[in-house]
């Protein structure tokens, strides 16, 4: 177990290092000089040069990379070119929306997918199974921005249960914040739940055919008991993999939903800063997302080891 942990941690650190180098180099080769962009079409070359020095853009590539990384390690992500505010505070504000939204959507995904997947798997080939499969087909096929607009039409405009968009901030009460995130979370969760339901179903169906499930029945467990006590945990490995991928997607990929619900989240921040050549922000947010993805994978790896004792020795 110790060896497994050290290996996972080592791979985590290495991935972060490689990712930071790749992100930095990619941003480096993107055309467009932020200084020139900020000063507009008619700026004089010496003004641009002065601004470049001010922004710290004239060091060597290596110096700037080291400066960027050491800064991040101390919590200093630089200053946004356009807004002239520290990137760290900008990101933190957005993260307080995007992270809860992603967790909320993931929670809904799991809460829908687990029962639906188990239900379908235990009734394989029967009407209930076909019903669930049909529903997941629809869930995957519906574009989520369209579904989001339908949700707004029905629950915000007609029934007036929720507001149509915007975010009141957590300081006005946790429940208020949660309420504002509910419709976006549902819109995000629906296709993910459909995918996860299918994974859960097929993984569990594989497990149900295993010899040890027959042993469990021969012990005297009912079908339901056998599924919950022996089937589920064995079916979990592929499901955990997908959950990890989905969380990463939900954190960064919610941009369309953020747009529809006018939520100031991370996705919109990235989009805005790219169009404004605010490369410091882009770099930092992308790095942060990479960090989140790698951490998620690390947690998924730990979950594997908890679920399956065989992985603790191997790996």
């Amino acid at each position: 177990m110790i060896s497994y942990l050290t290996k996972r941690l080592a791979s985590l650190v290495l991935s972060l290092f490689v990712a930071s180098a790749v992100i930095f180099l990619v941003i480096e080769v993107i055309p467009g000089d932020p200084a020139a962009y900020m000063l507009g079409m008619n700026a004089r070359p010496d003004t641009i040069a002065a601004l470049r020095t001010e922004l710290g853009l004239d060091g060597s590539v290596f110096e700037r990379y080291v400066g960027w990384v050491t800064g991040m390690l101390q919590g200093d992500f630089g200053v946004s070119y356009t807004y002239r505010t520290p990137v760290a505070t900008m990101v933190a504000d957005r993260l307080w929306i995007s992270l809860p939204l992603a967790l909320y959507a993931l929670f809904l995904t799991v809460v829908i997918a687990f029962p639906a997947g188990i239900f379908a798997a235990s009734r394989r080939g029967q009407a209930g199974d076909y019903g669930v499969i049909g529903a997941t087909q629809i869930g995957i096929a519906i574009p989520n921005f369209w579904f989001a607009m339908i949700l707004i039409l029905v629950f915000a405009i007609n029934m007036r249960w929720f507001s149509a968009g915007g975010f009141p901030g957590w300081e006005n009460g946790f429940l208020q914040g949660l309420k504002a995130l509910t419709l976006p979370a549902v819109a995000l969760a629906l296709p993910q739940a459909a995918i996860l339901t299918r994974v859960m179903r097929s993984s569990l169906i594989d497990v149900l055919g295993e010899d040890f499930m027959r042993t469990a029945r021969a012990k005297g467990l009912s079908t339901q008991q056998a599924i919950f006590r022996h089937g589920l945990r064995n079916a979990l490995i592929p499901v955990l993999t997908i959950i990890g991928l989905q969380f990463a997607f939900l954190l960064a990929g919610g941009i369309i939903i953020e747009q529809v619900f006018a939520l100031p989240g991370l996705g919109r921040l990235v989009f805005q800063s790219i169009s404004q050549r605010d490369l410091v922000v882009v770099e930092s947010v992308v790095m942060l997302l990479v960090f989140a993805v790698i951490m998620t994978n690390f947690l998924v790896d730990l979950a594997y080891a908890l679920v399956d004792p065989r992985l603790r020795v191997r790996a």
Binding site: T6, A10, K219, D308
Partner: protein, 537 residues
């Protein structure tokens, strides 16, 4: 009163009758063996008693009485209390019969808890006692062990423990030792016998192995295609062999292929030379910085095979025989020594050595037709044969293994296990090799099919001057098809010599223990002759 009565049991899948009118009884403390070949319905009978039949199977008639109570009249909830409570069941494949993510203690304790409602602690205590009883002592097998930390035999003991934890009146064992080595098989059978005596339970054992039947069971039911063809006290049934099917089974079980003498112009010429070969596997590092350690699977093995010679390689699982085989086929790197096929390394001599594997179901790509499957070895030829040559070679290979020519245009799922093994042999033959490696090639087959394949192999070795390296755990098969035998243990060859001599007078204690552990078919030939004489008088 008998523990179990099966009366006139009939089962069917839509469109096909799979059991018709099966009946037998088991008394307390009695061991009843149900035997027959695949498709005879013997496992279905066992599952029907447990009411754990696959969904497609319907019971269409008959009664199953456990201690006089009709199991068919019980609700599913009541049946759950019977399973694992009054009937325990053990399965064939111990490697997969246990939940891999739960400790053995929890799995045995669960069987106790769901039936007795004991607390977790009491159940674990009881699990400890039962595990001790089946020979898994506290010291080496704490309750916190996981199944993957145990060998096949040890896992089977855990499965037995959870089947008997509630002291059932009836134990059902479906091919409980088929996947195990002979010495482990002997220990497991001993354990079962001891438990039957101690608990006075009835034991229904399903097995295809007549030698096991004969040494182990009190009474015997012989089944064929869903019907009981013969039943009675084991020794009586086996001695009298009233039914022709019993006779055929018995004959096929002890079948000796007639090996033609080694002949041909190259006979006796050295073909394969294995000198001082070492193979090892890297072990996982304890910490990321410790030195890599290796496990030697094969430790300095030397032997040679001459052209046309049939060599047996026997040993138990984990002895290194598979690793050695893979090295000879050039599929595994060796860490020391040399392997030479007529002076060349295996990688460059692939066309001269071919292989037939154990599993006739897994070793063919289901999406290709037979013509493509058996000509696959052609890709190692420098010059690809023309279409005409190809056709001739396919015809020749199919003819050699006794399959009709039109097989070439069919898919693999249209063939039975025995036919598939013939196709595997055809695939091995198509390059006209000098040596065929047969890795447990008949182990998965029914006895009657096995007898025919052994005859075919004996015949082919004479016709094409083929040398065989026959890897098997089954001594009776090795006795039948080889001239010389190598006995392997823990990566080393411990005994080597003429097959008949080694098996009749083994010199190494390990060979002796193997022979002692292997169940034997009783020799009734003399008895039957005397019986015939007394009848004719």
């Amino acid at each position: 009163m008998s523990v179990l009565q099966v009366e006139n049991l009939c089962l069917e899948v839509p469109g096909k009758q799979i059991l018709s009118g099966v009946g037998f009884e088991i008394a307390a403390g009695e061991i009843l063996a149900v035997t027959g070949e695949s498709g005879s319905g013997k496992s279905m009978t066992a599952l029907a008693v447990m009411r754990l039949l696959p969904n497609a199977v319907r019971k269409t008639g008959g009664r199953i009485l456990l201690e006089g109570q009709d199991l068919g009249s019980l609700s599913e909830a009541e049946m759950c209390r019977v399973r694992g409570g009054r009937i325990g069941m053990i399965f064939q494949e111990p490697m997969t019969a246990l939940n891999p993510v739960q400790t053995i203690g929890d799995q045995v304790a669960e069987a106790v808890r769901i039936h007795s409602g004991a607390s977790r602690r009491e159940a674990l205590e009881r699990a400890r006692q039962v595990l001790n009883r089946v020979g898994l002592d506290e010291e080496r097998f704490p309750l916190s062990r996981y199944p993957h930390e145990l060998s096949g035999g040890q896992r089977q003991r855990v499965v037995i423990a959870l089947a008997i934890a509630e002291r059932p009146a009836l134990l059902i064992a479906d091919e409980p030792t088929t996947a195990l080595d002979v010495t482990t098989q002997a220990q497991i059978l001993d354990l079962l016998k001891g438990l039957v005596e101690e608990f006075g339970m009835g034991l229904l054992i399903v097995t295809h192995d007549l030698a096991v039947v004969s040494e182990f069971s009190d009474r015997l039911v012989v089944m064929r295609e869903g019907e009981v063809v013969e039943a009675g006290p084991t020794q009586e049934v086996l001695r009298q062999q009233r039914h022709e099917y019993t006779r055929a089974l018995f004959k096929a079980s002890g079948h000796q292929a007639h090996l033609p003498p080694v002949a041909g112009e190259h006979a006796g010429k050295p073909l394969l030379a294995v000198r001082d070969v070492f193979c090892s596997y890297a072990l996982p590092r304890k910490t990321p910085f410790s030195m890599r350690r290796y496990f030697d699977a094969v430790k300095g093995v030397s032997f040679s095979i001459r052209a046309g010679e049939r060599i047996g390689l026997v040993g138990e699982s984990g002895c290194g025989k598979s690793t050695l085989t893979r090295a000879i086929l050039g599929l595994e790197a060796i860490r020391g020594g040399t392997i030479a096929i007529d002076g060349k390394v295996p990688e460059t001599a692939r066309g001269r050595v071919q292989v037939v594997f154990q599993d006739p179901y897994g070793s063919f790509n289901p999406r290709h037709k037979v013509a493509r499957l058996i000509t696959e070895p052609f890709h190692i030829l420098d010059r690809q044969p023309t279409a005409g040559e190809r056709r001739d070679r396919i015809a020749e290979a199919l003819e050699a293994v006794g399959l009709p020519l039109d097989s070439a245009d069919r898919y693999i799922h249209e063939f039975s296990g025995g036919q598939r093994q013939r196709l595997a042999i055809a695939r091995a033959l198509i390059l006209k090799p000098e040596l065929i490696v047969l890795d447990e090639a008949v182990s998965a087959l029914d006895v009657s099919v096995r007898a025919k394949i052994l005859d075919l192999l004996a015949d082919l070795s004479g016709r094409f001057n083929l040398a065989y390296l026959f890897i098997s755990h089954d001594l009776s098969v090795v006795r039948s098809i080889t001239d010389r035998v190598l006995v392997m243990k823990s990566g080393e060859i411990v005994e080597e010599g003429d097959t008949q001599t080694v098996l009749a007078t083994p010199s190494h204690p390990y060979t002796r223990s193997l022979l002692e552990a292997a169940p034997k078919l009783p020799d009734f030939t003399q008895l039957r002759e005397t019986a015939n004489v007394s009848e004719s008088l």
